[in-house]
């Protein structure tokens, strides 16, 4: 099922029992499958028009009044267009707003550079009092939404709109503040978020055939990063590769580097977009263009392993 539909279903479920939850769209209700919620809850679910910054501040005001607004736009606008409002109207007063940014990075495909957020995590990560979470698949997202709603504070949710590859099984137990070790290994740690988890999982298999044992950690919450899990894995393997659908500046690689540099320096390779704007094109083309494929991850892992000696 499309991630946007999972999102709307889960939020609507919460709205049935929690009359504080609101859904605000900035002319993106269709894109986020929110029209039916607007029909069902005309007071609490509404369209505010094309004014993302205003939406963030309105949501801040509603939260100051006790509401729990989910505000929706493309991730390109969450990071850039709403930056000041997220900082001053939401995070500085520690308000309880859930900021949903869809179509992150190259998942914006044919919308191209203007709509491909490769900078949203980088922009938002330096704002205090903000949790940053990137969803991987349906099972994770379904468990994440109630936890995000229950958390008393601002959360930025980075999520693709379309269907995601299944990564987790029915036994999966999600914790918003705990990274998930998806595959255990001993030679190298692959740390991945969002759509890069599926690529990293394929890289694990490629490396396995070569006799390299890779551990895969889904760092779904980039801020606050689960230092304990990341460091435990790196202490075991001695090197790592970060895999993200974002500029390597300011995103997961920077977040992991912050921890590693201070607490346990090990060789760390970066898979991600190397300080460029995106281009138009289908997802597979863009993955190849920016070297975000499983083979690229495997190659970075080989280099990381070599650099240990």
């Amino acid at each position: 099922m499309e991630m946007r539909k999972i999102f709307s279903q889960e939020v609507e479920k919460l709205m049935q029992t929690n009359d504080k939850i609101c859904v605000i769209s900035a002319d993106m209700a269709g894109a986020h499958d929110n029209f039916w919620i607007q029909d069902k809850y005309p007071d609490r679910a509404f369209n505010i028009g094309v004014c993302e910054g205003n939406m963030a501040s309105v949501a801040g005001g509603m939260s100051a009044y006790g509401m729990v607004p989910f505000i929706y736009t493309f991730s390109s606008f969450s990071g850039r267009r709403m930056l000041d409002q997220i900082a001053i109207s939401i995070c500085h007063p520690k308000l309880n707003v859930k900021i949903v940014g869809s179509d992150p990075g190259i998942s914006a495909t044919i919308l191209g550079a203007t709509h491909s957020a490769l900078d949203d995590i980088g922009a938002l990560r330096s704002i205090a009092n903000l949790v940053i979470f990137e969803a991987v698949d349906e099972r994770q997202l379904r468990q994440a939404i109630p936890q995000i709603a229950a958390y008393d504070g601002a959360v930025y949710v980075r999520v693709i709109r379309k269907e995601a590859e299944d990564i987790f099984d029915d036994d999966y137990k999600f914790d918003l503040f705990k990274a998930d070790v998806i595959r255990e290994g001993t030679d190298v740690t692959l740390m991945a978020t969002g759509i890069m988890v599926a690529e990293a999982l394929r890289a694990v298999e490629i490396l396995k055939e070569e006799g390299i044992s890779a551990e895969l950690v889904n760092v779904h919450t980039i801020k606050p990063i689960d230092e304990e899990t990341v460091l435990a894995s790196l202490k075991k393997t001695g090197c790592g590769v970060t895999c993200e659908n974002h500029n390597i500046l300011g995103g997961l690689h920077s977040a992991v580097s912050d921890v590693v540099t201070e607490k346990y320096p090990v060789p760390l390779k970066a898979i991600g977009v190397h300080d460029r704007f995106s281009e138009v094109g289908p997802l597979d083309y863009l993955k190849k263009l920016f070297k975000l494929t499983a083979e690229d991850i495997a190659e970075a892992a080989r280099e990381a392993v070599k650099s240990k000696s």
Binding site: G60, Y65, D84
Partner: protein, 273 residues
């Protein structure tokens, strides 16, 4: 309004000005001009209009004020102290380490402050969000917002105005403190906000233009705004930046954020009488 009520409010305003000068002088510099231009408005709101309880500043269903021109906090801090939200002595901790009264208003630090502001243009959107939330909850509260005329140069003010109008937020009463000066000089000479009433009316507001230093006019305008259903209200206050103290008035437009020495404080208090 009865004559004695007017006199009482005028006396309250005089005390607000005296304490605001002393407050800013205790630090040695501050945003005096815009703090003094909104004194009559605050006096009317907190003495005649707002349903608030200083002993229970987070009371549910209370009326709320968003000071969108958040740098004018010292004026509001004085009124909150006068009303008993905290002791008057707190005023002299303004902007000092550990204070509950920071330069720009902070809802987490100061009892009686309903929204943190400081980045101009955002507060009116927050107030619109509160007014929308009040409608959802159905508590019949009023949300008041104070914006500056220079602040109206921010595009977000007009985005907020569209929101207020679209959602028929008749429980939102916005005041524009038209003191005609901004940080760098006269508003008219920087980017004019002329035809202000027309601008708000064209956004769907019930707009009134009054003398912002006349407590009776302010009270009556608020009453008319409350009686006007289905559309948001704006009250344009024709004010003087630095009002009430000739020394500060004569410095306009360069009285936005100024040093206040002990000598200036003494002169200002003498001028206030």
């Amino acid at each position: 309004m009865k004559r004695e009520e007017v006199l009482e409010l005028q006396e309250f305003c005089k005390e607000t000005r005296r304490l605001t000068v002393k407050q800013i002088a205790s630090l040695g510099l501050g945003h005096i001009g815009g703090a003094l231009s909104m004194v009559e408005l605050l006096a009317v709101l907190y003495n005649k209009c707002m349903n608030v309880d200083p002993k229970n500043p987070y009371m549910e269903g209370r009326d709320r004020l968003v000071l969108s021109k958040g740098h004018c906090g010292p004026g509001l801090y004085t009124v909150l102290a006068q009303k008993g939200f905290y002791p008057i002595e707190e005023l002299y901790t303004l902007n000092k380490p550990g204070t509950i009264l920071p330069s720009h208003v902070d809802m987490l630090k100061t009892p009686g402050i309903d929204m943190s502001t400081g980045s101009l243009g955002q507060g009116l959107s927050c107030a619109a969000g509160m007014a929308k939330a009040s409608k959802i909850v159905g508590d019949n509260a009023y949300i008041y917002a104070i914006v500056g005329d220079g602040e109206c140069q921010e595009g977000q003010i007009w985005e907020a105005a569209m929101t207020a109008s679209q959602f028929c937020l008749d429980n939102l009463i916005t005041f524009v403190d038209v003191n005609k000066a901004q940080c760098d000089g006269w508003v008219d000479e920087i980017v004019s906000m002329n035809h202000m009433k027309d601008r708000w009316e064209s956004f769907g507001f019930f707009a009134q233009e009054i003398d912002g230093h006349d407590v009776e006019q302010i009270y009556e305008a608020i009453e008319r705004a409350k009686e006007t259903k289905g559309v948001p209200s704006v009250i344009l206050l024709n004010t003087v930046k630095g009002k009430g103290i000739p020394m500060f008035e004569s410095m306009a437009p360069k009285n936005h954020h100024i040093p206040i020495t002990k000598e200036m404080e003494a002169q200002a208090l003498a001028e206030l009488g």
